[in-house]
């Protein structure tokens, strides 16, 4: 069953044609990697999927429903974005992780230590000032913050850039586990082709605002990808 369907999505940003009629279909529980050159529209696609930006034309269906007809807040709690830039909200790491659940009125069900561990951070970080963390630590708080919402679809925009290899392993492990055990669907933007090969079921190759090719990870040839 497809959980997200993107049909002929077009989007202009300034005078750049960021998406030029992009189509893609996502199966529930799969991990799909998006690869492709800088400026090919990967970030733009993720941002339209949880409706931080509006498409100029085309449509995106989530569980069969056009997201343009959905309540944006309800959508963003199910299709959760971990942005390319990890911006920390003012306050402690714990407050950052609890931010989403608190707004949803579910802060009681939020296990901060668990979310942090899943994201490759020690629970000892909970009391730290989030804005003073290192780049790699912020990346992991951003993942923990997203996991705290118990998403159905996780949109990851280069989530492991600047994170040390050991913690990257931990992050990849968590996401794989969530996909296999909880049916989490993951869209994973990365420039790290070996990572894409490690984590994904399928790899979509973006170029100039369209999906040029989708292959099973095992058949991916990366000569043509960039």
């Amino acid at each position: 069953m497809s959980i997200l369907t993107i049909k002929k999505a077009k989007k202009m940003l300034g005078d750049a044609r960021a998406l030029r009629g992009l189509s893609l279909d996502l199966e529930k529980g799969e991990i799909i990697s998006l690869v492709g050159p800088s400026g090919s529209g990967k970030t733009t696609l993720l941002r339209s999927m949880n409706r931080l930006i509006e498409l100029d034309s085309g449509s995106i269906l989530f569980q069969g429903e056009n997201i343009a007809d959905m309540d944006p807040v309800a959508l963003r709690r199910k299709v959760v974005l971990v942005p390319q830039e990890s911006v920390m909200l003012q306050g402690t790491v714990k407050e950052n992780v609890q931010y989403g659940p608190k707004l949803a009125g579910a802060v009681g069900k939020c296990d901060v230590g668990r979310c942090l561990r899943d994201a490759g951070l020690s629970p000892k970080f909970a009391g730290k000032d989030a804005e003073k963390l290192s780049g790699g630590e912020k990346k992991r708080v951003a993942l923990a913050r997203a996991l705290a919402l118990h998403p159905e679809v996780l949109l990851l925009d280069e989530p492991t850039v600047g994170v040390d290899p050991k913690k990257v392993e931990r992050m990849e492990g968590t996401i794989l586990k969530f996909a296999r055990e909880k049916g989490l669907t993951v869209v994973w933007v990365t420039h790290d082709v070996p990572q894409a090969l490690r984590v994904s079921d399928r790899i979509a190759n973006l170029k100039k605002g369209v999906v040029k090719e989708v292959t099973n990870a095992s058949e991916f040839r990366w000569e043509g990808a960039y």
Partner: protein
């Protein structure tokens, strides 16, 4: 009854002497290359002409039996002027006058109604016009400060705002803290002048009352009443302009507006 110790012809002579002093001062600033001479001269001529025009209007209004007919026009004109002036402080926000004008109008009008009902403002042009000027003037200043701060916060904190939205915040929740900060910042000048009232700062209307020979205690009492009301109007205006700005800062789909 005027409290001013000379006739208006003598006043012209005094003004002439002041002009000479000012010309010397401006000459000094040209010599020192401070670079304000042109703007200062322009501002002085413009301000002076505006004040005399207003005085002429007041002169006739004070004499006019049916002064309260045109007064509504004057109040609306004040709100419109204030709204347009304030909107220019809203950075790139398009059509900001649509939120500044109603905010200033409501803040100012509420205060004038309270002043009238409480008896602090007799329904006479001598009271209504200067008080309305103060109330609307202050509402405009506060509106500009609040909106200017808010649009700047949005421009610099766009990534933070988007992060909040992407974690399921509504626009109202996402901008709450920035809105609060903007209102607070806009009220600082008012609060500071309240604190220094009477120490380094004798406000214009009290100065006016003293010159006209009012008992200082009564003058101070009146000043405080007026001051509290003026600030009250500013608070209403700032809260309203921040609340209304949400429609312009976010889209219907709860995204940050493209102009930010």
């Amino acid at each position: 009854m005027t409290g001013i110790p000379y006739t208006w012809e003598e006043g012209l002579v005094i003004m002439g002497i002041m002009m000479v002093m000012l010309v010397i001062a401006i000459g000094l600033s040209v010599w020192k290359k401070i670079g304000i001479a042109r703007e200062y001269t322009y501002a002085m001529i413009r301000g002076g002409l505006q004040l005399f025009a207003a005085a002429t209007l007041l002169y006739f209004l004070f004499e006019f039996e049916y002064w309260y007919y045109p007064i509504w026009l004057l109040l609306i004109a004040m709100a419109l002027m204030g709204g347009y002036t304030s909107a220019r402080r809203a950075g790139k926000m398009p059509k900001a006058y649509r939120i500044t004008t109603p905010s200033i109008l409501v803040g100012g009008t509420v205060v004038l109604i309270v002043l009238r009902v409480s008896g602090a403002m007799p329904f006479k042009p001598q009271f209504v016009i200067p008080l309305a000027g103060m109330v609307f003037g202050n509402a405009m200043t506060i509106c500009s400060l609040a909106l200017n701060r808010l649009t700047r916060e949005f421009e610099t904190n766009k990534p933070t705002l988007e992060t909040m939205l992407s974690l399921g915040a509504t626009p109202k929740e996402a901008m709450e803290e920035y809105g609060r900060m903007s209102i607070k910042a806009a009220l600082i000048p008012n609060i500071d002048s309240l604190k220094t009232l009477g120490i380094i700062f004798i406000p214009g209307s009290m100065a006016g009352l003293l010159i006209a020979g009012t008992n200082p205690i009564l003058a101070a009492e009146y000043q405080i009443i007026v001051y509290l009301m003026v600030i009250g109007g500013g608070i209403i205006t700032s809260i309203m302009v921040i609340a209304l700005s949400r429609r312009l800062l976010f889209t219907k789909a709860q995204q940050i507006a493209e102009w930010v």
